[in-house]
Subunit: 296 residues, 2 copies
């Protein structure tokens, strides 16, 4: 089969297609412009591709409630022209195939559970830690939407005792995103994170915050894998520091070998690397295709 995929980002769109093994056969990249124009280019790309389904993992916020009249819309983004835009509807008019539609982080979580670092698992939590912090939640074989969708980037956290940074979140000040996103690191140290040495105490503080968020994910969701992606997590020295923080926080309370002796295989980087976005969108498309088969 041929699975179409759209990774819709605020600066670029990646379109492509691949097969049910997660192998990408073709892709193109487009700059994100005005929505009508951008989607016309997307439609032109897929016109002769004869895909069996299309998955869309997109920037947001978006409406992912199938019962809502605004399902498939971008909702309140500040990105010019995209707020209240009927993204999914425009594509559905052109292609009569099953469509998967979800947030980019939920797509990444599903992609990792389908072909990546959590392959074969029926649950994982995916954190992306970069310009912002987002989470995708996959549990008991389902992506979590609920009322809106998880927004774990804004968890309240305890302040590190040696950190006086006020926090950069316009809503919450010193929430997780306000303290641990890429821009927060840069504001705290007056230098880009990527220019700090790997031994800088900045990473201990960063691990302290991310470790709390990971601990909260374990306590609230008990996922089978936790995947940490995004630009900040290119600092690979963070992984052992975060694992140590999580074990310190839990203090042996949750009795599972995955947390006690095998945490190196529990809190892990994405397996799909540069293909995470497109593979995630493909996984959404595949899921929609399978669901259609079940429904019929």
């Amino acid at each position: 089969m041929r699975i179409g995929a759209i990774e819709a980002g605020g600066t670029k769109f990646v379109c492509g297609y691949g097969n049910e093994d997660g192998f990408i056969e073709d892709r193109i990249s487009l700059p994100t412009g005005q929505p009508d124009q951008t989607l016309d280019e997307v439609i032109a790309y897929f016109q002769d591709k004869r895909v069996d389904c299309i998955g869309i993992g997109t920037f947001g916020p978006i409406n992912i409630d199938p019962a809502s009249p605004l399902y498939g819309y971008v909702t309140t983004t500040p990105k010019e022209g995209w707020a209240r835009y009927p993204f999914l509807r425009k594509l559905k008019k052109e292609f009569h195939v099953p469509f998967g539609w979800d947030t980019d982080v939920n797509a990444a979580a599903l992609g990792e559970a389908t072909w990546g670092a959590a392959k074969g698992s029926d649950s994982c939590v995916y954190f992306t830690i970069g310009t912002g912090i987002g989470i995708g939640v996959y549990t008991e074989g389902k992506l979590v939407h609920g009322l809106v969708h998880p927004e774990g980037g804004h968890l309240l956290i305890r302040r590190h005792p040696h950190d006086e940074f006020v926090g950069s979140c316009p809503y919450h000040g010193d929430c997780l995103e306000g303290m641990a996103s890429g821009p927060a690191i840069e504001k705290r140290w007056n230098i880009k994170g990527s220019d700090l040495g790997t031994n800088h105490s900045a990473w201990d503080i960063e691990a302290f915050y991310i470790g709390q968020a990971v601990t909260s994910a374990i306590l609230m969701l008990s996922p089978k894998k936790i995947i940490l992606g995004g630009g900040v997590m290119h600092q690979k020295q963070l992984f052992p520091l975060i694992r140590t923080e999580v074990q310190k926080n839990l203090n042996g309370y949750v009795s599972s070998e995955a947390l006690l002796s095998d945490i190196d295989h529990y809190i892990i980087p994405p397996g799909l690397e540069d293909n995470a976005g497109l593979c995630g969108a493909m996984a959404l498309g595949l899921q929609a295709f399978i669901q259609r088969e079940i429904d019929e």
Copy 2:
């Protein structure tokens, strides 16, 4: 149909049966003794009841992983005789009907989603706040198990600025349970919570902590309802205080009328009241019965 139910607690077992509308037709209560003896009494009760299925919501920790050889066992409880006891297996030998098996808090969450305060919703989080703090998580129409099961009672929280209590959790000191359980309130004020006046500042501090936990649940899981039960929540003055804390914490970030203008119907007490435990177990039994129908 006739749905059997076992509400297995550390001090008493309640057995009963009812119908698919959640109506309880009969019940008995037994003191929790040694497991073989207690379960013999349970078996004797159901012997002539001709139930179509049995649901068990139990104290724990228990193994709820169907793939594990220890599925259906109580695991590490300090309760004498019950650690590593094959609870479910003993009953399955006697009754050849579908069995539901889960934690007492997951049972309560499912009961509330089936017949109670979250009726008709495909997601809710149930907090029980009493001697300990536990959570049951129901999301996208499924109870969450994952690696072990959620343990949201031990969330790390920020300390209230006017609270110097060290915390009562033997594992984490000042985690949620260490600061906000019934025993924590009693240790902090040297008086039982039920003897504090309803205007005591204790309840502001309590709401501060529970409000953080509810905020974390919203950010990690985006549930459609949050239900707060357990002995501490008999202090009804807590509900408006907690709602105010949650709105203060979120600060308008999650754009949903349920949180912004309708929070009185979002953070709510259990609808099943004194029947919550038994109805929850019935809901597990009904779910197992329906699943068997689908599988066959």
